[in-house]
């Protein structure tokens, strides 16, 4: 599914990723943990193709295609989905309009017909119900005046509509109380399938109680310094990141 080899990237002349390797197979959930400033969010942005994040070495392939050559929107159409830590507001652009533009663009790239307005409204209502967002949120501006939890549920709804093959969750747990966290985690779990993979980026182990990973990687100073099963997250929680940093020194 996703193969990252020796990936190096910089932001504003500062090296952030310093030779990162990960191999994600279909259906797997990989958690990436690490201290603040390790490059966790940068990894998501680099893979999604955000401007200003410059790859200096290495490769990243999705379904065997070179991701790094594509524009951000192309990567999205190929099935890469990034759930944001802090989803931005777009005032005046209705959620429904935004979702339809997004879904139409992705479907077109997959050779599918766009939904008719009626079909789409029905589908969007169904999904908003599934993530427990009242239907009037579809009429409101994108994330406009949404609470932290509502923004995350809106992201989840987008994920459901776009049916991506690779989902990157960037600190999805930040700003969520435990109830909201559970709702989001349940939604993610419902989307797990043999042909869909997840990279769950998080600082805390808490999220991984709900979204149980197959593998846990520890990212420190731009590299994966330790990998293991889900029990590694528990160890980290107990010992703190210093334990890892101590080991690598």
């Amino acid at each position: 599914m996703l193969t990252i080899k020796n990936l190096k990237a910089k932001v504003e002349d500062k090296d952030i990723l310093k030779g990162l390797n990960i191999d994600v197979k279909p259906g797997e959930v990989h958690a990436i943990m690490g201290p603040n400033g390790a490059g966790k969010s940068t990894l998501g942005y680099v893979l999604a193709g955000r401007d200003g994040y410059e790859v200096t070495d290495g490769s990243a392939e999705l379904h065997g295609e070179n991701l790094l050559d594509m524009d951000a929107e192309e990567r999205a159409r190929k099935g890469l989905f990034l759930a944001f830590q802090y989803p931005v507001e777009i005032p005046g652009v209705s959620n429904m309009e935004f979702l339809k533009a997004s879904v139409d663009a992705v479907r077109e790239a997959r050779g599918l017909e766009p939904y008719s307005s009626v079909e789409f409204i029905k589908l969007a209502r169904e999904k908003s119900k599934a993530v427990n967002l009242p239907a009037d949120f579809l009429k409101r501006g994108v994330n406009e005046g949404f609470s932290g939890g509502e923004k995350k549920r809106n992201e989840l709804m987008q994920m459901m509509l776009l049916e991506p093959s690779l989902c990157i969750l960037d600190e999805t747990d930040s700003g969520l109380d435990i109830d909201a966290l559970q709702v989001v985690a349940e939604g993610v779990n419902a989307l797990r399938s043999p042909d869909r993979s997840f990279i769950v980026v998080t600082h805390y182990q808490r999220l991984l109680d709900y979204i149980v990973p197959d593998y846990v990687h520890v990212l420190a100073d731009g590299k994966i310094v330790k990998s293991g099963g889900k029990e590694l997250a528990l160890e980290l929680e107990k010992e703190g990141y210093r334990w890892i940093e101590g080991e690598t020194v």
Binding site: A48, D51, G52, E73
Partner: protein, 479 residues
Amino acid sequence: MSEEVKQYIKSEYKAGFVTDVESSTIPVGLSEDVIRLISSKKNEPEWLLEWRLKAYRAWQEMTEPDWAHVTYPKPDFQALSYYSSPKSMEENRPKSLDEVDPELLATYEKLGIPVHEQEVLAGVAVDMVFDSVSVGTTFRAKLADAGVIFCPISEAVHEYPDLVKKYLGSVVPQRDNYYAALNSAVFSDGSFVYIPKGVRCPMELSTYFRINEAKTGQFERTLIIADEGSHVSYLEGCTAPMRDENQLHAAVVELVCMDDAEIKYSTVQNWYPGDAEGKGGIYNFVTKRGIAHHRAKISWTQVETGSAVTWKYPSCILKGDDSIGEFYSVALTSNHQQADTGTKMIHIGKNTRSTIISKGISAMTSQNSYRGLVKMNPGASGARNFTQCDSLLIGDRCGAHTFPYIESKNPSAIVEHEATTSKVSDDQMFLCQQRGIDPEKAVSMIVNGFCKEVFKELPMEFAVEAGKLLEVSLEGAVG
């Protein structure tokens, strides 16, 4: 600004063609003789010639205003021609649309304007003004059945002299300001509308102004009178060919809204804005004002995407008690365009109300200013105003400015002003792209969302047109 956004703002002006017709254009220059010539070409009565000359003499004593936040070389008024008409409109003036030179009508068809009454957009009557003359007006007969008069003002002078004499200059006097005085001296064609008492105009009225001839200015004059309890919705559209020279457009629009009447005036202004280097384009110096009597309502909606320099403040004099004034504006500037636009709400009557919603969008190196006056006169007890000015910046080399003026001489009057400035942020762009949306589509979506409150005030057909126009005007503005 990302590369995509830059690509997107390079504007492509789709109305920039020239119509190849033989025109008779009077020699350049301005003098009393030129004014006499214009007046005689229109066979005007003596009183109107005198009215023009009075304006001209006043204008000569005035100086060009320089308070607007725009810079441009002053027009050379002696290097312009003040009257140009297609020859076919002069000798044997066509008596009906069928006799009009097809080439002229084709100009409007090319611009997407319905010139034949049988066309789909049949709910709209159109007056077509080409340089200095009206070339045709649709649905006149149907409108006449309802008692509505819709014709070129040059005809109204002959056919409805009492109305014209009574109201011309009654809202915008000849010496109101520099460009209004110039217009009063040399105005050519424009539309005249009269809606009788209690009549709801059965269709939308519209006028399309087209400047075609080089080295000419367009000085149209529009007068709309809505008699007691009547209702009318009117729309104007404007385009011009792409030329290296700056052309002057100095119009005057007067609205007279009697007791309990309502006038809704919408503008989609798409004059040629000049090229990416700032060469050419229209100077749009326009005076628009309406007077609202008791319980009357005037609503201005404007979408401004064109002109090299815009200087324009559609205003309302809320003279009657309980009268209402509204101003909804979207002004978009890109490349080297400059706009200084806004409104004046003059509250005179009791319990008068006004609403101002202004949306300014600046891209590339353009400068966009909102300038608005809200004045509460001593008699305006219980008057209220609400103003909201929002600016959206695309990129980091443009400017947005807000100049609100508030004068309140009545302690019971309430004035509210809200203003925001925001940017199309990298975060917003990235969210859209990460969801598979093209950068071009993303910008147009974000900008349209920003303008939503104004677009919903436009007649439906034109709201769609306005959205598309913004898209075209922003092509290449994204990055």
